[in-house]
Symmetry: none
Subunit: 371 residues, 2 copies
DNA sequence: TCTGTCCGTGAATCGACTA
DNA sequence: TTAGTCGATTCACGGACAG
């Protein structure tokens, strides 16, 4: 450890600038043990095949940029190992790193982090409130991305602002899954043509939580895959210093323009979506999955005129009708619609109980243990 | 592929039993390409601080922390690679695997899956509604575990019951983040002393969703780390066959007792919603042959912008375009493809009716009077 | 100014069958 | 093996525009 003060050390650093060129070379040229936090959003190596269309036949604007293409897993691994090694040299002994990725690359990144000597503190799941659906119905909606938070070394005294995060989370301890919307609307940067300036711009709310939680004011944050500069923008707002590295000139240009407009502590720009939620939706299927009702069990209508049997996928089957609790109720009553939750009952110990009671139980659980 | 029937193949398998001993040896003794789905919850604390032995079985002297760390990861990787390789040999060509883990091991498992030739379909986050809090306030509450779903090969026709999962989720397609409670209460198995029988018993709700989504009734499900048998229990309920492998006698005993009590749901209850893809194909020409539509009659596009005339052979002719209902629809819209069934309408009694209605009529007849 | 409707779009490893 | 054809498939928002 050097005996220089923070200020002296930092004067050797190109603070609050964007460096061009290759991130590994650039990192190797910076002084060791000088960075408090690294946030990295490396290429995901998506390996996309053909085009994809939405059901309305519009074409999905996929990530087909050259920077995301690697010849093989081996070459991706090599690249990952190299930049993680360079990054680790830059970290102060109590420094930490965040890396974000999807299932295409995150397992390789996580293994490389461990191999290089980083110590994983948490994996954090960014659950997207508005992800792109799976258009062909062939897989689960890809509704999350994974972030890995790791300290430089095992046993390091990393920064973790527990109380600040708890406050951000309405007084409850922050969990490893964060629900945040993707970057859209005015926040999404456009190029001269009005197209999105970067295919994978991250929302500021995500970086806000990362930086509040794992840095202090005055800390130096490095982003080796700077893109359009979300990390820099949020760092500047929050009074942290940043260093960006970005190879593509077009991205640097957009980022520079963006950063000029940012003011420190501009609270308005830091809106963290805390939209008051309505009563959470509870799918009927959860009552079956949770064993509150059994497949094969019979439900009875409130008026006792109809009955239907529960199937393993949470649909009902009655006389000649099958479908959701709402649809079957409506068809049996000859009504245009029906609230299945209040229409159907089940039997327990000789008593008839509305299924809505079970939904209330689940909601009560969710209230007791929010999030 | 063999020409044996499912029944013949399955008689070679120790169905619905728990095998003892080492899972890799046991897997190697089973016939190849015989398993539809594998669900695996591998241990991650395997000798994590243990000794590393050279190939000649001499012990490596752990000189420093870095080497010790490397040694433990190395041995875990070896173990992971070995069981994944054995598992892959057992899978049918269209078989698939689920592996569950936490940040301690899931990155190494995911990378090994990719290295062994599995093709990742999704990573799915089990988001625990009631996790254990982080008592020391040093990290985020560890509130999720990660599951990886992968097919044996790229391009395989894996099983995915899209409509059943959608039904389970109240009509909205299932996402990659599942909110389910951890295993507690009566479901949590106890040993003779009243202590929990297994440290990481998985909830049945989790397996219910996995098995409904990625198997069909009669499929064979293997769990090489059977534990107290949640996979077997849910498989039995859902009319799937299982094979369990478990090394610890205490767990096998608890699992056996548990499985005895399980009853399979009745047949109706196991029927789930299916997609239109599974419905029989109806050529458009049949509507003309059956006199439901007449040659010379005009069809109108959904958006009323186009029309075309029906020809006797079941093709359409519009302005400068002729061909199938799909081809003409696509060309008129300038779209890469078009589902003619939902695109075209005909007129009856002044009303506009989608031609798909006629197809539904034919399909209903086919169901009532097969062949 | 407000409300309702329509349209656009987001890190995506997104067919099956027959000739 | 390949080419052609059939035909299945989407959720949450934000912005623009019309009334």
């Amino acid at each position: 450890m050097t005996t220089k003060t923070r200020k002296e050390r930092n004067t050797a650093l190109p603070l609050n600038t964007i460096l061009d060129g290759d991130c590994i070379e650039r990192m190797n040229a910076l002084p060791e043990a000088s960075i408090d936090l690294i946030f990295a959003d490396p290429p995901y190596n998506l390996q996309l095949r053909g085009d994809l269309h939405r059901p309305d036949n519009s074409k999905v604007d996929a990530v087909d940029d050259a920077w995301d293409r690697f010849a093989s897993f081996e070459s991706y691994d090599q690249f990952t190992k190299a930049w993680l090694k360079a990054a680790r040299r830059l970290l102060k002994p109590n420094g930490a790193i965040w890396v974000i990725g999807s299932y295409h690359n995150i397992f390789r990144v996580g293994a490389a982090l461990q191999n290089e000597g980083y110590w994983i503190l948490n994996d954090v799941v960014w659950r997207k409130s508005n992800p792109m659906p799976n258009f062909r119905g062939k897989r689960f909606t890809n509704a999350h991305e994974t972030m890995i938070w790791a300290s430089r070394d095992e046993g390091a005294k990393y920064t973790f602002n527990y109380e600040a995060l708890k406050a951000l989370n309405e007084g409850v301890q922050m969990r490893s899954d964060w629900v945040l919307p993707i970057c859209t609307g005015h926040e999404r940067l456009k190029d001269e043509n009005g197209d999105k300036a970067h295919p994978t711009q991250k929302p500021e709310s995500l970086l806000h939580r990362v930086l509040i939680g794992s840095t202090n004011p005055g800390d130096v944050v490095l982003d080796p895959f700077f893109g359009t500069g979300t990390t820099g923008a949020v760092a500047k707002m929050l009074g942290r210093d940043f260093i960006g590295i970005e190879r593509e000139e077009a991205y640097r240009k957009v980022a520079l323009k963006r950063l000029e407009k940012i003011r420190k502590y501009d609270k308005d720009a830091l809106q963290v979506s805390t939209s008051k939620r309505a009563e959470p939706r509870v799918p009927f299927g959860q009552l079956i999955e949770r064993g509150m009702l059994r497949p094969g069990e019979e439900l009875f209508s409130m008026n006792k005129r109809h009955k239907a049997k529960i199937r393993a996928d949470g649909t009902l089957i009655g006389d000649d009708v099958k479908g959701s609790i709402h649809k079957v109720g409506a068809e049996l009553e000859g009504a245009p619609s029906c609230n299945g939750w209040t229409y159907w009952c089940f039997r327990r110990d000789g008593k008839t109980v509305p299924i809505d009671v079970l939904r209330q139980q689940i909601r009560a659980e969710m209230r007791d243990r929010p999030n």
